[in-house]
């Protein structure tokens, strides 16, 4: 808003000062009214970003009182259940921070809640990107950066969770040590590398402290910067809709609308976390006591984002441990803790490249997919989520057992079966649902809304009156481009010579058919005209439902 007192071209004094020294006005001109599209799901990444800022703020507060040392001291604070107990300085200072620093417990609890929500929001954000196809060209690099941020988030969470040196997180470190030792050839040395000698040693807390407050946060900050820079550079994607194309972006300017909404979102996140920190106990280390290798408590679980690993470890049967030539290969640990997560994460990281290879699509995409319009992608996403869900539930099997009066063994066996069956079932159902929704879209475009009005013709025939869609409604349902499998060229050229690269093409064609063979294509203007030409009275006749355009086709001889 310009003020009437100043003449139109002048900048406010501080901006003028900066512009004369940095050319700031050019940046302001470029960015202050930059357009961002508006959709609630575009704020999921912000939940992660702003909880990270809360993490930095509360983390700075608590790091001022935390002592990352494993030297032993005797407790003498206010807590009756710890009087005279020997503990490390790390644990002692955590208790001091919690009970003697005014506001300390609030900050600690906010920090931990923010950590859980930070990683949760990353996951939700990532699946929004996945289901809407926002990872497609030119955003593959940003997908990889986001994926790296997820991994760093897990590392940051795990290293912070272990810092108070309590029994629960100490047993988590012990499990980590066990997993590390299972790695062939270098495992034992890797354990020494991490712990500075034998577990637990005197070094792990200070080392994790450096990792937690220096190395990983620096990497996260840097990558967040890069992540956001690319969002600005490539401009945000937008959902399909009237007036939105691959060549424009429709929305509101950063200043003031988007800035106000962003600030509002940040404040609300900060406020919700403060409310949680004020009223809900999290990680009550005073219940677990200082680390000692001997005790353990029922309900020994890591924070939620590590539960899938815990679940995988619980599900894998022991007989997989083998001895080869006198060397022990603990496949019962390697498979669940290294191989399975490795495969899951690698396939997630590489997905954009796999899909673009399968589709052969090298164009830029800025308009998002509706998840139903990419049935196989959507089904793969749900399938992955179902694996994750089974693993998380398997990681909580003892809690499920006590709360639902079941036996741990029965639960474990059920999950051992489900881990193989559920992803397949989920994939099939999700794909069918997506195709079904696409058919419903076609139905709507061709025949309009059902009005519930029944009309009787002179001939005695009854029909329901359908109201055609308006242009914008129809556009939403027909805007997507049909995706078809890549046709496979014959193995021999016209002279009967075997074509080089045929095998690779054959594999690619098979993958492409997996993705795109089953499909429902959007209504074309010709089809709509044909449907309307059929006359206004037989929209609901049974023969329409058998018409070829309403059924998904298995790709036949004629390639699309």
């Amino acid at each position: 808003m310009s003020t009437n007192a100043r003449d139109a071209g002048a900048l406010a004094p501080p901006l003028d000062y900066l512009d004369q020294r940095t050319g700031l006005a050019k940046v302001l001109k470029e960015f202050s009214r930059k357009i961002f599209p508006d959709h609630w799901s575009f704020l999921l990444g912000e939940i992660a970003l702003f909880s990270f800022i809360v993490l930095l703020l509360t983390g700075t507060f608590i790091s001022l009182f935390f002592v990352p040392s494993m030297d032993e001291v005797t407790y003498s604070g206010p807590l009756a259940t710890m009087q005279g107990v020997e503990m490390s300085k790390a644990f002692d200072s955590t208790l001091h921070l919690s009970f003697e620093v005014t506001g300390g417990l609030l900050m600690r609890q906010m920090h931990h809640w923010a950590a859980l929500i930070f990683i949760g929001a990353i996951v939700v954000h990532m699946f929004r990107i996945f289901f809407t196809g926002a990872f497609r060209k030119p955003r593959e690099i940003n997908w990889i950066i986001g994926f790296t941020l997820l991994i760093l988030g897990l590392a940051e969470g795990f290293s912070g969770y272990s810092l108070p040196d309590d029994v629960l997180s100490g047993n988590g470190l012990r499990i980590t040590d066990g997993v590390v030792k299972s790695i062939p050839i270098i495992g034992s040395y890797l354990s020494y590398f991490i712990f500075g000698g034998e577990f637990p040693g005197q070094h792990i807390i200070p080392r994790l402290f450096t990792v937690h407050i220096l190395l990983v946060p620096a990497l996260i900050l840097g990558l967040i910067g890069l992540h956001l820079f690319l969002v600005v550079l490539q401009k945000h994607t937008q959902f399909p809709g009237a007036g939105r194309t691959n060549k424009n972006v429709v929305g509101y300017p950063i200043f003031p609308v988007y800035a106000a909404k962003q600030a509002g979102m940040f404040f609300i996140i900060f406020g919700v976390l403060a409310l949680m920190g004020a009223t809900m106990t999290i990680n009550p280390v005073w219940n677990y006591g200082p680390y000692d290798p001997s005790p353990i408590s029922a309900g020994a679980q890591p924070d939620w984002y590590m539960l899938f690993l815990e679940g995988a470890l619980r599900l894998t049967p022991g007989f997989l441990e083998v001895v080869i030539g006198g060397y022990t290969l603990s496949l019962n640990i390697l498979i669940p803790a290294v191989v399975v997560p490795g495969l899951l994460f690698t396939s997630m990281a590489l997905y954009p490249f796999i899909e673009s290879w399968a589709s052969g699509d090298k164009r830029e995409h800025h308009v998002l997919d509706r998840p139903r319009n990419a049935p196989v992608r959507t089904a793969l996403g749900y399938s992955l989520l179902s694996v994750f869900l089974v693993l998380v539930l398997a990681g909580t099997n003892d809690i499920i057992a006590t709360h639902f009066s079941l036996s741990i063994e029965a639960i474990t066996w059920t999950f051992r079966v489900l881990i193989f069956v559920l992803p397949v079932v989920t994939f099939t159902v999700a794909k069918r649902v997506a195709l079904g929704l696409q058919r419903k879209d076609r139905e709507m475009v061709l025949h309009g809304h059902e009005t519930g009005k029944i009309v009787r013709f002179d001939t005695g025939e009854y029909i329901e009156v359908h109201q055609p869609l308006d242009e914008e409604e129809r556009w939403l349902r027909v805007q997507h481009e049909p995706r078809r499998p890549i046709p496979l060229l014959p193995a021999q050229n016209e002279r009967g010579v075997r074509r080089p690269g045929y095998r690779r093409d054959a594999i690619r064609s098979r993958v492409s058919r997996f993705f795109y063979a089953d499909r429902v294509e959007p209504v074309t203007p010709a089809e709509l005209a044909a449907a309307q030409a059929h006359g206004g009275h037989d929209e609901i006749s049974a023969s329409q439902h058998d018409a070829p355009e309403l059924t998904a086709t298995r790709e036949g001889s004629s390639a699309g």
Partner: protein, 261 residues
């Protein structure tokens, strides 16, 4: 003391010493294995008869008329002591309603008087741990910090860090100790009901038992951090982070993203 010192070279001294040693051992043994004699008030013959009648009516079907037990059905109760009866009956675990993975706590169907009588009768069958006296289970006489160290070494692996309970094999479980009375906790330690190991007075001394009771009593003050979320650790924290935290924040995002009317 001078008199003793003067006679210490007497030729009967070894005999007296031996007798004293035996006596001390006997007394200590009696102290460490609480016998029926320690019960609050000595049972009368009427109590024993009433207890026997109650037993025949309510327990003998499974445990046998003389509490000798029936293999594969119910254990012998000879020598389990009054503490075992008091624990099982006053928490409603016995009589058993139906065979399951383990006997759950239920509403109690006997009066305190009846329980005392049954306990007295079972205690009369053979020596076993008695119902503890009030000062043996007085949390005020225990050290909660000592109790914390003992609890987490001996109890927390099954009952959880603050006694919230946990799962065992094949549908069995360690119950929540939140509502267990100090007497019940003590009796469970000395008798080792169902899956629970026995913690006799040599493994956990009577003072240590009071420390543990004091620690559990201290949990009644709740958590300094606010609501406890069931004290079952990161699983409930994760669940609430999703339901409440992420739920509320997605709600906020939807509000921010929605067009104003």
């Amino acid at each position: 003391m001078k008199a003793i010192a003067a006679r210490r070279h007497h030729r009967f001294a070894p005999v007296v010493l031996l007798a004293l040693a035996l006596l001390t051992t006997g007394v200590l043994y009696a102290a460490f294995t609480p016998g029926p004699a320690q019960a609050a008030s000595a049972p009368t013959q009427d109590d024993l008869t009433a207890g026997n009648n109650l037993f025949r009516a309510n327990c003998a079907t499974c445990h046998g008329m003389n509490a000798q037990g029936r293999p594969g059905v119910a254990p012998s109760l000879i020598g389990v002591g009054a503490a075992a009866v008091d624990f099982q009956v006053s928490t409603g675990r016995m009589p058993l309603m139906n065979q399951g993975a383990q006997a759950p706590a239920k509403p109690v169907i006997f009066t305190e008087e009846q329980i005392r009588q049954m306990a007295a009768w079972v205690a009369s069958l053979g020596p076993g741990p008695a119902v503890p006296a009030p000062e043996e289970v007085d949390p005020a006489k225990g050290d909660a910090a000592q109790g914390m160290e003992l609890f987490r070494t001996n109890c927390a692996m099954c009952h959880g860090a603050v006694g919230q309970g946990g799962a065992l094999t094949n549908g069995k479980y360690a119950p929540n100790l939140g509502k267990a009375s100090p007497t019940t906790i003590y009796e469970a330690m000395v008798t080792g009901p169902q899956s629970m190991p026995v913690f006799n007075n040599a493994t956990i001394t009577p003072q240590e038992k009071r420390d543990i009771i004091a620690y559990l009593q201290a949990q009644k003050a709740g958590s300094p951090g606010g609501v406890t979320l069931g004290s079952i650790g990161p699983v409930s924290e994760g669940l609430w982070a999703w339901l409440l935290g992420i739920g509320a924040l997605i709600g906020a995002a939807v509000w921010i993203g929605a067009k104003s009317s």
